[in-house]
Structures are given as C-alpha cells and as structure tokens.
C-alpha cells in the first residue's frame, strides 16, 4: 500500500500513530486538529521519539497551544495546517485571515517546523463524475492559491496534500501538483465506494461470512447471524432506491437484500421477488460486502487474510484512541 516505504502515512487516532510507530513507521500525520488540551504524554512521546510526527492545526488558538508546549531539547514540533477548501468539517477556511495568521505563527515559532498544508476533501463522496471533478479542481485550486499567498508572505510551503478515497481513486490532472495524497478506505474499498464510482464490486477486498439460522416465510425473511455489531449500521438509513443491492450486498446473490439488522441478527428479504427458501437451507453460508469497510473493519477482533479457501494469515487490528 505504500510501495514498500514506511513513511508518509496519515492516521486518525493516537493509538494508530503508536501502532505504526511501533512497527517502524515514521513521517506520520495525525490528521485531526490539535489543541493544547490534546497534547498528552503520548503525543509528546510520539513527537519526541519519531523523526517526523506531524500534528495538524486549524485554528490560531490551536497553533498557539502547540507553541506554548515546547518539546524537550532541540526537538521541534512538525506542524501542518488543515485547510477547509469547501467541505466544511474541520480545517481553517482557505481564504480566511486566520489561515495566514496560523501559518505566520507556525513559521515564526522557534520550536516549530512548518510543514505545509493538508486538506480532507470529504465532499468528493458524490456519484456524479462531473460534480466530483469540479470539487477536485476547486480543492486543488484553493490549496494552490493559499500556497501562493503564503509564499508571497515569505512562508515556504514544502508540502501540500489532500486525502479522500473517491478523489484519489479517480484523480484529475491538476492533482499532479500536490506533493502527496492519502486515501484510506481504498485499502479495502466497499459498496459505498462502488456507489460513488471509486471502484467495482470485484475490487472490494473484505467480506463477512455469515450463516442462515432461521427461515421466517411468514414475514418474508431469512435470518443470518450477522447484525450491526459485526458489519455496522452505516448505510442502512439510506433510501432503498439509492442502494440497488441493499446497504450490504450479498455476494453472488443480487436476488437478496438486507432488510434490517439488530445486534447479532440480519434480516434478509427478496430483492424484488420473494425468497426461494429451498435455495438457502438453514446452515447455508452467505458472504456480505460491507457498506462502509472502515466501520466494519473497526468492529472485527481479527481479519482472516485469505487466498481463495486458504487462510494465509490472521491480522489483529489496532483499535481504541
């Protein structure tokens, strides 16, 4: 996934940063706004022991908090500014006065090494190609414009990148100016990414195996032992007509769809026609594609890494915060 390097990754929790750092990774961006109250012993330890543990700030107050918490010795904080190019979740608005003020503070602070700009373009989760291209174009244009503004102000911007699986899976030419990008979900992909055009069903590298445990013809369902505690509820709130195969497609069975789930139970119904129960006797194994593999992956105590029917390895995922 990193073409052999153990550098230039992005994480969303401190637990993930520690996991990768323990595995020999370095040059890790913790991609969540840093504020003084989050600078724990664990954060300081990562910043101290790694050559390049990067924090991200999106506010003047957050930047000041980092400056006010110097590391020991001559170690410096590596700081990216998170830029909001229109998604509106986190990040300092690209053309705001604060954007300039934050970067000036970072560039001027003795114990800070200003790394550049970072953006999460979560607004590229749209099925329409033209709309997506337009968002990609706008995102890069705004990053470039801010970069120029900073350089005109005497602030070098060595790195500027973005991340989102829909954008990075279908990059447009002008993304070539970025120094890096980091898709996360593409490691597994999922049905949601199929729906927004990032991949095909065959690209989905995660399946949940489940067993038919009950027939309920009186309510039109067959019941499996996979509920939201295994595959998550993500997607189940979406209107049915937007999800032709239900929110978690059943591998090789487009004639079935998940109607609803409870904690450890999934209720499958016919997708248009009634279920032919004789084809799914009790005990039948079915495989489900995740709607959102990030959510599904987070619920698993282990992953079975397989090639066909052969299990090659068992991975224990990192979790917590």
């Amino acid at each position: 996934m990193t073409a052999g390097t153990k550098r230039k990754i992005v994480v969303s929790t401190i637990a993930e940063a520690e996991f990768y750092a323990d595995g020999g990774f370095d040059d890790i961006i913790f991609a969540s706004p840093m504020v003084k109250e989050r600078i724990s012993k664990r954060v300081i330890s990562l910043a101290t022991r790694l050559e390049a543990f990067h924090v991200m700030v999106d506010s003047v107050v957050g930047m000041q908090g980092v400056i006010d918490t110097p590391l020991d010795g001559d170690k410096k904080w590596n700081v990216f500014m998170e830029v909001d190019c229109g998604y509106g979740r986190t990040g300092c608005v690209w053309d705001s006065d604060d954007a300039l003020m934050i970067c000036r503070k970072a560039a001027a602070a003795e114990h800070v090494r200003f790394q550049g700009l970072y953006n999460h373009c979560g607004n590229t989760y749209v099925p329409d190609k033209d709309q997506k291209s337009q968002i990609q174009l706008t995102t890069v244009d705004r990053l470039v414009e801010l970069k120029k503004r900073l350089e005109a102000d005497g602030i070098p911007v060595p790195r500027f990148g973005c991340g989102s699986t829909p954008s990075c899976s279908r990059p447009i030419n002008n993304m070539g100016v970025l120094t890096e990008f980091h898709p996360g979900n593409y490691i597994f992909y999922d049905y949601m990414q199929v729906l927004v055009g990032s991949c095909s069903m065959d690209d989905i590298a995660m399946k949940i195996v489940t067993t038919v445990i009950s027939h309920k013809p009186e309510v039109g369902t067959l019941v499996v032992d996979c509920g939201w505690n295994c595959i998550s509820q993500d997607g189940c709130e979406r209107p049915k007509d937007t999800l032709p195969l239900g929110y978690t497609p059943i591998v090789d069975h487009p004639e079935l769809r998940m109607r609803a789930m409870t904690q450890e139970i999934g209720k499958i119904e016919g997708n248009g026609e009634a279920i032919d129960y004789s084809k799914f006797p009790l005990g039948t194994r079915l495989y489900l594609y995740p709607h959102h593999s990030c959510a599904t992956a987070g619920l698993q105590p282990k992953y079975y890494v397989h090639s066909g029917d052969k299990i090659l390895d068992i991975w224990i995922p990192n979790r917590g915060w």
Copy 2:
C-alpha cells in the same frame, strides 16, 4: 445485576458464553437459533463442560440438527424453543404446528433435556405505554397458551421466559407467571430507552468523554473528537423531531445537539439557537450519552468504572463471536 448468583444468564454470542463460563457462570442460554452447521467444537465444549449450557432452536430442522449431534457420554443437550409471539425476528410462531413438532422432538430425544420456551419481545420498543402493555399482555398470553398446549400433549415445560429491556423495566402483573426474564440493555440504559419510557436520563450509566477540537462558525458547528467509531451511528437516521436532544444527548447541554458524525469526528450544532462559542473554548470537555449503549459499548476497548472523578476500575469488555 444477578443479585449475586452466577446462574441464569443469557448471551448472544459464543464468545460471551465462553467469557462467562471462564468466569464461573453456569446455566447460560445462547439466545440465537441453533442449526447443525453452528455446532462447532466451541459449542460442544461449552455443552460438555458446563452443567447447563442451553441452546435455543426455532425450527424442526434445527432441532433435528441438535439431535443428530449427540454429546459424548451421558451428557445431554439442554434445549429451549424460541417462540415468536408477534415480533417476527426469529422464533417459531407460537400457534404453529411446527411449535408442537419441535417440542415433541425435543421431549422424545434421548440425548436432549427440553427446558422450555423462550421469547424476545423486541416489539416492546415503543414509547406508548398502553401499546407496550398490550404487547406484553399478548406475549405472555401466547407463551402461556403454548405452554398449556404442550402440557396437554404430555410435554412438561419447566421454564418459560422472555427478555427485552422495555418490557422488563416496566413489567406488567401477568409477567409474574414467567419463570424468568432477562433484560440486557438495562445494565447501562441509554437515550433510546429514555425515549421508550424504560428509564430517566439520570439512569443512564454510560458516558463518552470528548474534546472540542475545532470551531466552525461558518457552518454553525463545533467539532469534537468523537465520531461513529466511538459511539456508533445508531439513532442518527431518526427524524430530528423524534429526538429532542439529538441522537446522542450532550450531558448538561440541552442547547447543543449532534448534527452528524464521521469516523472520529462529531459535528455539534445549536439546538434551536446558534452556538455561543465563547462558552465552549477549544479543549472543552463534553460528555455524551449513548443513543444505544449496546452499540457504543461494543466499540470500546475499555470501560473506566468511576465514582465522580475517581476511577475505581478498568474493565476490558468481551468482543467478537
């Protein structure tokens, strides 16, 4: 929670059964329909080493599968029949021919000890008291009627019980005829249970602590470091007007509500009025009540057991299947 006994509990996964068995519990119902293909070495081990590991069946085929897989020596399978009294998720329909046939098979099989009837009345998750009472009444009536039918057929029914937190939290008189009931969610309770009248806000015994990490006045949110990977999406699909405090209420701040979440990010908006950001500086700690504590609990690597500000213990929850 069990008044000191380590008996008469219900679990929904084999991993939970093993966890409790290892902790000295016995008389454990695995409350999910058993089929032959689910009778793994782990299930056989539980059935062998415990005095009373109970499996549940809801089909003739499932019952036959248990009969066809005798345990070693003179050990018998303990079998409950799951009864569907109208909820429609799993269970054999209370007045069906199959219900009688399953119990006859169980009672006649040499290596089976028929334990009785079990029901999950998940249809009691309704806010209207009268409607709930009516469902409770119907549930018990149907269980009693089936019990009588079985006894008239010469089949003793030593135990018959049900489980669901709304029902068991607000029991009605006729539930006194049951030999047992098992609410699960009531251990923590949550906002969903408040909404269906099981408890008050003060009864909720779980909170998630989170930190304000970004102010986004341009889109009317303040951002916290708690997303659906921590508290789950459960409830976020419900129409706003049914959830006066949002899907995960913010403790002591009814003027705020969660607008939406991504993996590790929560976007909080004003509940009716705009946010007064000066009251929530970056770094402010907020506490969230879970919408559905079962889902939230399943996502935690540990629970901090506290009394006020003092942490008394750390619990590592069981997970997996």
